[in-house]
Symmetry: C2
Subunit: 119 residues, 2 copies
């Protein structure tokens, strides 16, 4: 029951595309990440995923369209929907997703994180 | 798969202690609320609850201590733990909690909301 300060946690993250766990509730994880560049196309068969932009902005590509997000906006990607985040400049993002989620779904990528780190 | 702008949704909320649903994923709700004044003591037997401060600040009272929260900070209140939010001035808060949650747990209060409104 200690509070979490987002800026303090974000200051501990020095890489991109590597979400860290900062909270857990009801089988869900709250994560923080920095994105920059282009991620891999993937989907999550069983998990919806929420992206809340804290600072900066990024584009979420879907196969048929894209959504531009900026600070103070969030997007929920439903299970089974292929998506690819793309950030021209560094963006700070809060994620909300089930604890069981795989980073890149069934896709194996050099960017895939297999063990979620807690900070 | 439409994005949600927090400021636009918050502008639609004109009352206090009445969280509105702005997103749903994995059986959880994302809600926005404005708090001002003192809420009622309550707990949720089966649900953890997350409070993320967007603007302003408030105090979460527990039976044995209090936690002061300001913008950019969040707190997870575990299931079964009595709590009471108190806001001296108006504060804007994002909530994450299971869709099945009761507003004031087993407590019946004039402040109790029984039907969550979506905005």
């Amino acid at each position: 029951m200690n509070k979490v300060n987002l800026a303090e946690k974000l200051a501990m993250i020095g890489d991109h595309w590597n979400p860290r766990i900062v909270g857990e509730l009801n089988g869900q994880h709250v994560k923080l990440a920095k994105f920059q560049g282009e991620f891999v196309w993937h989907d999550h068969a069983d998990e919806d995923e929420m992206f809340l932009v804290l600072n900066g902005g990024f584009r979420m590509d879907f196969r048929d369209r894209s959504v531009e997000l900026t600070a103070g906006e969030f997007l929920i990607v439903p299970k089974g929907v292929e998506h690819r985040p793309v950030a021209i400049e560094e963006v700070e993002v809060m994620l909300f997703e089930p604890a069981a989620i795989q980073h890149t779904g069934e896709v194996d990528s050099p960017l895939t994180v297999r063990n979620w780190e807690r900070i």
